[in-house]
Structure formats: C-alpha cells, structure tokens
C-alpha cells in the first residue's frame, strides 16, 4: 500500500466518521464541530486530487465562514437537545408499515446502484493516471473569468439576493 492509499484512507475515515457524528450527536453544537472535522478530511482529499486551491477554499469558506454562521445561530437560539424518549414516540420511523416500505425501497436502490456500478467500466482507472493535473490558480482564474464569466456574474446576484433575503427574513416584525 503506497503512501497515497494510506493518506486517502486516513482522510476518508476522518470525513466519514465526522459526517456520522454529525448525524448521531444529540447536541447541535457538537454536530457543527464534527462537521468541521469532516471538512478538514475533505480538504485533505482535495489536496490528494491535486486541487489545493479548492482545499484552501474548503477550509476558509466552509469550515471558517459557513460553520461560524451555523455555530452563531445555534448559540443565539440556545437550541435544545433532542429528547430521546420523545423521538421514539413521535418519529415517523416508529410506524412499522412505513419502515418496511422504506427498507424495501432502500435495499432496491442499493442493489440497483451496485448493478450499475458493476456494469460501469473504467472505475479502476487511477485518478492521476490519465491526464496531468490542472491545479494552477492562474489557470483557474482565467477559466473563471472567460468561459464561466456569465455564471460567475449570476452567482454575485445570487449572493446579493441571499444576503437581502436573510436580513429580511431574520428581522424582527413590527407589530
């Protein structure tokens, strides 16, 4: 096993365990902290895929900005922990018929996915085998401001709309 494989499995384990903890934790503060761990694992995977700029953006924007926003709201609202006893009685998963139908559909989906994967060729091709990496930040910027110019500008409109929308939605209503 090469060092690449070792690094891949280490980062993959960090990511998957972090993501699982997000879903398992009852306390939202711990959920936010474990998703940050998962994002650091993902950033490592991006470095392995020779996309260092995406890795840095992942940490600065996602683990930095967006998760601070989440943590801020969790602490602002003083979010209560989920009560396990209440979960059991009122959760839709408590209904046996729904669980059976859902389980059948989930197994069907998993089988079909496995079938599709077994028919797909080229899954064994190493990521670094076929082509050279295109990781230069200069190239990224050039493509972003020529080929994807329109999408880039539309994104700025999206950000403005989201910002205004967030302010309007979170504002205190005047009675």
């Amino acid at each position: 096993m090469g060092s690449d494989a070792l690094l891949f499995y280490t980062f993959a384990a960090i990511t998957v365990i972090g993501a699982l903890l997000v879903v398992i934790q009852k306390n939202p503060v711990y959920s936010v902290l474990s998703i940050i761990a998962a994002f650091f694992g993902l950033a490592g995977l991006y470095v392995l895929l020779e996309a260092p700029f995406v890795a840095v953006v992942q940490i600065i924007i996602y683990a930095g900005a967006i998760m601070v926003l989440f943590l801020f709201v969790v602490m602002l609202l003083n979010v209560p922990r989920e009560d396990a006893a209440e979960w059991d009685r009122s959760h839709p998963l408590y209904r046996p018929m729904a669980v059976r139908i859902g389980a059948v559909l989930a197994i069907l989906l998993a089988l079909e996915l496995g079938w599709a994967l077994s028919l797909t060729t080229g899954l064994g091709v190493g990521v670094a085998e076929g082509a050279d990496a295109m990781s230069s930040v200069q190239k990224l910027g050039e493509v972003l401001f020529t080929k994807y110019m329109f999408a880039f500008e539309v994104t700025s409109i999206l950000i403005i709309v989201a910002m205004v929308g967030a302010v309007v939605l979170a504002r205190k209503r005047e009675e």
């Binding site: 998957v16 990521v127 939605l169």
Partner: protein, 99 residues
C-alpha cells in the same frame, strides 16, 4: 487511487447526509446534513475533473460552495424566524399546511 474509491466515498457521504435529513428532528442538524450532501457531490466533481485533466470540476465546486453559502444564510434566517414563531426547532412543530 482508483476513481471508483472516490465515487464510493462520495456516495457514502451522500447517504449519510440523506439519512441525517430523514432521521434528525432539529432544523439546524437538517441543514448540516444538506451541507454534507453538497460536499459529497463536490468530491465527485473534483475527482472527475482530475481524471479528465480539466479544471471544470474545480470551477463547478466553487459555484456549489457559493450556493451552499446562500442556502445556509437563507436557511438559518428562516430557522431564526421559525424559532421566534414557535419556540421550537422540531420540524413536527411546523405542520400548519398539513391536511
């Protein structure tokens, strides 16, 4: 590393995110699960871009991140509004439109 490994990891993360959306009963954890799903897709984009030798996968990832940021901002503003309204973050508390 074979591309298949990255795709399986991506699918696993997406499944974890989906499970979180269906299992958890806290609007903030629901939004976090959606973020996990978006990141799973990002990983697949970057892996495919690396195999193809283009940087289109990385560019798409930036757009997904922007959308995720917008979604988080609007979603959290909605959560704050809903919490003011009902003093609860349980999705079951907001069923006025249910018949």
């Amino acid at each position: 590393m074979p591309i298949g490994h990255y795709l399986v990891l991506s699918g696993l993360l997406f499944a974890i995110g989906t499970a979180g959306v269906f299992l958890r009963r806290n609007l903030i954890t629901l939004l976090l699960s959606v973020e996990i799903m978006l990141n799973a897709v990002n990983l697949a984009f970057v892996a495919f871009g690396r195999v193809a030798g283009t940087n289109d996968g990385q560019i798409i990832t930036f757009f997904v991140m922007t959308v995720a940021a917008a979604e988080a901002a609007v979603g959290l503003a909605l959560v704050i509004g809903l919490f003011r309204h009902r003093e609860s973050l349980n999705p079951e508390a907001f069923t006025s439109l249910k018949w």
